[in-house]
């Protein structure tokens, strides 16, 4: 039996994890402050009432006072800068894919072929040099590190811009017996020497965060993450006792933080244009101290802070763990500065 067949069976078996739709509907209805239908079919009867309720809520929200004006002090924008690598030379077995631009998410040929993954580290990130098994090398006089195993070879080096590049070449089926390949260290060195960084693109949030709890750093800025036009900023706080270095299955010692910093996420700040998604009468919402003069609510868990009417949208702050407290969440919201589109 081949792996695809087994996989299809395994996935079909996972249907047993399907949640009870009635329970989901009950919880959704509670959160949207709507009449709770006993069965799915009953939900159809509530349409008119709900539309009227939503309309009333929208009118009320539109009458809210405008938020206080920004004091005009310069603030540091919250932004993420992304760039990719282009290669002037590729080995023959990757040359067929040479016309493609390899992206930060990794791009390469289909199964049973060598693969290539390249990316550019975040502006303030760099690999840890001197880890066991890695050799030092230079690209254009700039420092780098390289490691080679029968399964794959990896190189990191500093680009002229100051950011660090990451390059990995391996074999897609290297875990299968007989498919192991020799290291491609020399190829990797040549590819690194031929690489250039693409023009960076910048995503800037429409708000700044002058205050963040100690140890917190912005790791991601996105637009349209949860909806069409939202701004979402994700913030991490690496715990002091976090595991820093790990060893992969094929024996490569690597830095966990630089690769998976977002795994230590503690806080998400979302601004969504429009206020039609908010219903102050929603079950579980509790009024709390105003934020920048606007009425604010938190949910029953205390993990979400909602500020409707913030510059024509809904400001939402979510703390993911107790490592950010409710007062800290409120302080982040209070300090948040609107910088505009």
């Amino acid at each position: 039996m081949n792996v695809e067949t087994i996989l299809a069976e395994v996935l079909a078996d996972r249907e047993r994890h399907t949640p009870d739709p009635d329970e989901v509907l009950r919880r959704v209805s509670a959160r949207t402050a709507r009449r709770v239908p006993h069965r799915l079919v009953v939900a159809l009867a509530a349409v008119v009432v709900l539309v009227l309720a939503a309309a009333v809520a929208a009118v009320v929200l539109q009458r809210r006072s405008e938020p206080p004006a920004d004091p005009g002090e310069p603030v540091r924008p919250v932004q993420e800068v992304r760039s990719d690598l282009r290669f002037g030379w590729l080995p023959d077995d990757l040359a067929a894919a040479a016309s493609r631009e390899f992206g930060t998410q990794g791009d390469g040929p289909p199964a049973k072929q060598p693969y290539l993954i390249s990316s550019v580290y975040a502006v303030d990130e760099a690999p840890v040099l001197g880890e066991p098994g890695w050799q030092s090398f230079e690209v254009g006089g700039r420092p780098g590190r390289i490691v080679s195993r029968p399964t794959r070879s990896i190189a990191d080096w500093r680009l002229p811009s100051g950011r660090w590049a990451h390059l990995e070449v391996g074999y897609t089926d290297h875990l299968e017996p007989g498919n192991r390949q020799p290291g491609v260290e020399n190829d990797l060195r040549r590819m690194a020497a031929s690489a250039t960084e693409t023009e960076p693109t910048t995503t800037t949030a429409r708000f700044a965060l002058p205050y963040l709890p100690p140890g917190c750093v912005v790791v991601s800025v996105g637009r349209g993450t949860y909806d069409v036009e939202d701004d979402t900023v994700e913030i991490s706080r690496i715990p002091p006792d976090a595991e820093r270095v790990d060893t992969t299955q094929d024996g490569i010692v690597d830095d966990l933080w630089s690769q998976q910093r977002s795994m230590f996420g503690v806080l998400t700040v979302i601004w969504t244009p429009g206020t039609d998604g908010f219903d102050r009468t929603g079950a579980g919402l509790v009024r709390e101290a105003p934020v920048q003069g606007l009425a604010a609510w938190h949910d029953s868990s205390g993990l979400r802070l909602l500020v409707p009417g913030f510059h024509g949208g809904i400001l939402e702050l979510r703390r993911l763990t107790d490592r950010v407290t409710g007062p800290e969440l409120h302080k982040v919201a209070e300090g948040l500065r609107w910088t505009g589109p």
Binding site: M1, L7, L11, E15, H17, R31, K112, M263
Partner: protein
């Protein structure tokens, strides 16, 4: 009046489609998809709930799209892939480090059972994106291009995720100690 919410409603019918009608028709399907995607009933419930609350607020915009269900399904996928969910996944992954013990293979049927168990275990240990690609291809039957549209990446990237995920599943069928690899989540 009842609605059958098909993928390709006419524009007029789409605009008349209420949120409740959509939910009544599609919640079971969305819940099943979330269950297969997450492999965790509680997480699936949380994901679908979160998405529907958001979809409720944006329903006029969503129903004006060509395929409302595909849009909401993409929201489910994104919600699952969001780092907040991966945070929980990572905890599970580290807790399971070392891999499940292999089962003795004594006959063809037993071998299939053991392989299925190994593949199921390794599926849990893939990166969230790799697992999502496999679910979208082998459960939802989407093409690389459709998966790329949903995940916001190229078809080539989807093929890479797919190839590497399958390689690890094949490895799980051959070895009894699949360990997580780094280099997937940069």
């Amino acid at each position: 009046m009842t609605f059958e919410v098909h993928e390709e409603l006419s524009g007029e019918l789409r605009m008349a489609l209420t949120f409740d009608e959509f939910v009544a028709a599609r919640l079971p399907s969305l819940s099943r998809y979330a269950g297969v995607l997450t492999g965790d009933r509680q997480l699936a419930e949380d994901v679908v709930q979160e998405v529907l609350v958001r979809a409720y607020g944006k329903w006029p915009r969503i129903r004006s799209t060509e395929r409302p269900e595909a849009y909401v399904k993409a929201m489910v996928t994104r919600e699952y892939l969001s780092w907040r969910r991966r945070l929980a996944r990572r905890a599970a992954l580290l807790a399971g480090k070392g891999g499940p013990p292999g089962e003795p293979i004594v006959a063809d049927h037993a071998a299939d059972v053991a392989r299925r168990a190994d593949v199921a275990a390794m599926l849990e240990r893939l990166s969230a994106r790799q697992r999502t690609v496999l679910v979208l291809r082998y459960y939802e039957g989407l093409t690389d291009v459709e998966i790329g549209d949903m995940l916001g990446c190229s078809a080539g990237t989807v093929r890479t995720y797919h190839a590497r995920a399958l390689a690890r599943l094949r490895g799980a069928m051959e070895t009894a100690d699949p360990a997580p690899m780094l280099g997937e989540a940069r």
